[in-house]
Symmetry: C2
Subunit: 253 residues, 2 copies
């Protein structure tokens, strides 16, 4: 999902009075760490991935090492591969009309591209989002592909789907975004949709739902939608099936 | 969520041509097991909990030991406690009007009550659902409470919420269900809603959405909804916030 740079931070701050930290203090049965890994952080991650956690600004302070190990290890790769497998299994059941209107919508950040190299030097989600430094990273255009997503992207193209890229990144970042996508191996997308000036201040749910509605009005059939944030996927209209990729680093409302 | 006994099994069978088994065969990068636990089964569980997996009939054959260990171990308890913590943190932000119309909707099976003792002698989800033997288990009325849910239930009552229990169980099972709820420590629910004859054949999403719509039409404000199936939570109208409890044992569309 795109950069959270353009969201009303004051609103997030108000909402996040129910933040991860508060949540931890409120836990009725606080699970204990075990020798088997960090039980609490693993449950926290599940609550994030299922959208139970609600809005949050930073990961729990005690989960930095857990998140670091997760995003650099086998589990992130495995979880991403299984989501790609779910997506492909569904895609194979679709009847492609072949008129160029059968589309799959992909988010970009933490969906097609990985910003783990950025977060690795910025606290793995434990620091409040800094749009200045993140925008500098975006301009470098060197985010690697998430390999399971790149493979899925190519398999979907092979099935006859058109690729629509729908990102929270700003229109001003179009060139850097295109450069990065090509650098990391993506090609031949049908459209790359970025936030225009009139989208600034909209939540991702509103902005992305509006764009999906426009696509449908233009005759596109959105079979699948892939994103690492629930705000990539929820709202009306939705894709026939939505696929939530893992992301324990940040939350976008 | 209630027993899947009353769902159109033939439909499920057709839909589940994209079943867990098919999915596994289609995985582009099949993760390998590691000494660190079963990486694939853990990713499969995440895909179920995030609703990525889509319809499925039985758990992957290779994940029986994984699921057995999960539901009997610390992780299920920890995951359940964190969901309860998420729910309570949100509930504390609600303004209770005090007119008896502020409600929280709970599913029953794998939400308030645990059927793990039944599944422990029925293959931990690896066997196709058997409504005859499950109905016998329901009539015994001895399912234990999920302890995190019981504590949450009482805390929500303490905050002034009214409890609405909305289950896929049939009206014919009302007495056994009430007996089981009281046996396991629940009390003072405002309403217990079960499937009536006219609901047989409806998916859980349709049946439960219709009941939520009726509740709203009667003036109830549904702040929260807790269920172990996405079909407990999705559909219109939805609660202000929905909370997905873990369940790797079975899927209800």
């Amino acid at each position: 999902m795109g950069t959270p740079a353009h969201f009303p931070l004051i609103l997030i701050l108000i909402i996040s009075s129910v933040s991860a930290q508060t949540l931890i203090q409120m836990l009725p049965h606080r699970p204990q760490r075990t020798g088997d890994g960090d039980l609490f952080c693993d449950s926290w991650r599940l609550s994030v991935e299922t959208n139970n956690a609600g809005p949050w600004m930073t990961i729990p302070a005690e989960c930095v090492a857990f998140v670091e190990e997760y995003v650099n290890g086998d589990r992130y790769a495995s979880d991403s591969a299984v989501v790609a497998g779910d997506s492909l299994a569904f895609a194979r059941t679709a009847r492609i009309a072949g008129d160029g209107r059968d589309v799959w919508v992909f988010d970009i950040d933490e969906t097609l591209l990985s910003n783990v190299p950025y977060y690795a030097v910025n606290g793995y989600g434990s620091e409040v989002f800094n749009d200045t430094s993140f925008d500098e990273w975006v301009l470098k255009a060197r985010a690697p592909a998430l390999s399971a997503s790149l493979q899925l992207y190519e398999e979907l193209q092979g099935l006859g789907f058109q690729m629509i890229l729908l990102t929270g990144r700003a229109e001003a970042q179009r060139n850097a975004t295109e450069e990065n996508l090509l650098f990391s191996g993506y090609h031949s997308w049908k459209r790359l949709i970025l936030r225009e000036a009139s989208d600034i201040g909209k939540t991702a749910v509103v902005y992305k739902s509006e764009r999906r509605a426009e696509l449908e009005a233009q005759g596109y059939r959105i079979y699948g939608s892939s994103g690492d944030q629930w705000s990539d996927l929820l709202g009306s209209p939705m894709a026939t099936r939505s696929f939530k990729l893992p992301n324990p680093l940040y939350h976008i409302p």
